[in-house]
C-alpha cells in the first residue's frame, strides 16, 4: 500500500519546473494528503526545503537513490 495520495513525475525537469508543478498538484489536493515527487535535478533538494518552509506544507521525507530524488510532502 502506498504512503502517498498523488505522485508527480518531475524527472528530467530542471529548476524551477519541479516546484511549479508540485505547487499546482498540491493546489488540487486536500489538507492532510501527501504528494510524492520524483525528480532528477539536484537543485530540487534545496528548492523543496525552501518551498515547504514558505508554504507551511510538511516535508515528510527526502530520499536519494541512483540519481533520483523523492520528496513526500503533506499538504497543510
Amino acid at each position: 500500500m502506498s504512503n502517498f495520495d498523488m505522485e508527480l513525475d518531475a524527472r528530467g525537469l530542471n529548476c524551477p519546473l519541479p516546484i511549479l508543478r508540485a505547487k499546482k498538484s498540491i493546489n488540487s489536493m486536500s489538507a492532510g494528503q501527501v504528494l510524492r515527487i520524483v525528480a532528477t535535478d539536484p537543485g530540487s533538494v534545496k528548492d523543496f526545503e525552501a518551498f515547504c518552509k514558505q508554504t507551511g506544507n510538511e516535508l515528510l521525507e527526502t530520499t536519494q537513490d541512483d540519481g533520483e530524488y523523492q520528496f513526500n510532502i503533506r499538504k497543510s
Binding site: G12, L13, N14, C15, P16, L17, I19, L20, R21, K23, K24, S25, N27, S28, D41, G43, K46, D47, A50, F51, K53, Q54, T55
Partner: protein, 259 residues
C-alpha cells in the same frame, strides 16, 4: 502602428511599459531583472525574475537551467517571448501566444506544453487572470448542459461528460493553438517597435541564454544573496549589466554576440 488587439486580455503595448521596466537606448532595449538566493514568494526558489514580474504571485524565479527539449530558460522565455513580444508575463491566454514565439525560435513542439496546461490547469477548472468560461470559446461552452451558475471544475466535468476526456483535451489544445496564433502579428509589431528583428529572435534568445548561464553560474558559486541587473538586448549583442557588482566578485558586465 501596433496591432489593434493590444488592449485585449493578454496583450501589452510595449510603448506603454513604464521606464522603470523597459528603456530604449542607442545600445539596445534595457530590461531590469533581480536575483535572490531565495525568493519570499510562496515558491522559495533561487533565481531571477524580470522586475515587472517580481510581485506577480504566479511567477516563479528562474535559474539558467534550460528545458530538456529547448535551449532556453524560463527567464529568457519570459523576457523574449512574453515581455518584448508584447504579452503579459502570466496568464494562460498570454502563455498560448508566447509559446508560439518560443516554438518558432527553438523549433520545439508546443502542443506538448499546451496539453500539459490542459491537464494540469484547465482540467481542474483553473485559468489565470480570467474565468474558465471567458477563456473557452463560446461554441465549446454551448456543448455543456448547465443548470444555473457552475464553477470552472463543474464546467470542465460537464464538457467531459458531453464530449469525452480525450476529445475535450484535443479541442482545448486546438483552442490554445488558435489563441496563440492570434498573437503572431502583435508579437512581430512589438519586437519591431523595440528595434528588434523578429527574424533574429532565435539568435537573440541563444545570446541571452549564454549571458544568463555565465552570470547565474557565478552567482550560485559565490553564494550571492541578492543582486540587481539589467539585460541589454539588440540585434547584434546581448549583455547583462550588474548594477551592484562591487564586492560581489562579479564583473560589471557580461555580453555575448548575436550569432
Amino acid at each position: 502602428m501596433i496591432n489593434t488587439m493590444q488592449t485585449s486580455l493578454g496583450f501589452r503595448d510595449v510603448h506603454a511599459y513604464p521606464s522603470t521596466h523597459l528603456r530604449l537606448t542607442l545600445e539596445g532595449v534595457r530590461v531590469p531583472v533581480s536575483y535572490r538566493k531565495t525568493w519570499n514568494d510562496g515558491f522559495g526558489a533561487r533565481g531571477w525574475k524580470l522586475d515587472i514580474a517580481s510581485t506577480d504571485p504566479v511567477i516563479i524565479a528562474s535559474t539558467r537551467e534550460t528545458g530538456g527539449r529547448i535551449p532556453t530558460s524560463v527567464l529568457i522565455h519570459d523576457l523574449l517571448d512574453h515581455f518584448l513580444s508584447g504579452f503579459d508575463i502570466s496568464g494562460h491566454r498570454a502563455e498560448a501566444m508566447a509559446l508560439i514565439q518560443l516554438g518558432k525560435r527553438t523549433g520545439s513542439d508546443i502542443r506538448r506544453d499546451y496539453l500539459q496546461m490542459v491537464r494540469e490547469d484547465l482540467h481542474y477548472g483553473r485559468v489565470n487572470h480570467e474565468s474558465l468560461a471567458s477563456f473557452l470559446p463560446p461554441a465549446l461552452i454551448a456543448n455543456a448542459r448547465m443548470d444555473g451558475h457552475i464553477d470552472g471544475r463543474e464546467l470542465i466535468q460537464a464538457l467531459q461528460s458531453e464530449m469525452g476526456v480525450e476529445a475535450l483535451e484535443e479541442r482545448l489544445v486546438q483552442h490554445f493553438m488558435h489563441l496563440g496564433e492570434r498573437g503572431e502579428a502583435h508579437a512581430q509589431d512589438s519586437l519591431r517597435l523595440l528595434g528588434l528583428k523578429p527574424s533574429r529572435c532565435r539568435e537573440i534568445g541563444l545570446a541571452l541564454q549564454r549571458v544568463l548561464a555565465e552570470v547565474d553560474q557565478r552567482v550560485e558559486n559565490e553564494g550571492i544573496e541578492r543582486l540587481n541587473a539589467t539585460f541589454i538586448i539588440s540585434n547584434e549583442q546581448c549583455a547583462l549589466e550588474i548594477i551592484n557588482a562591487a564586492g560581489s566578485g562579479l564583473r560589471k558586465r557580461y555580453s555575448s554576440g548575436v550569432g
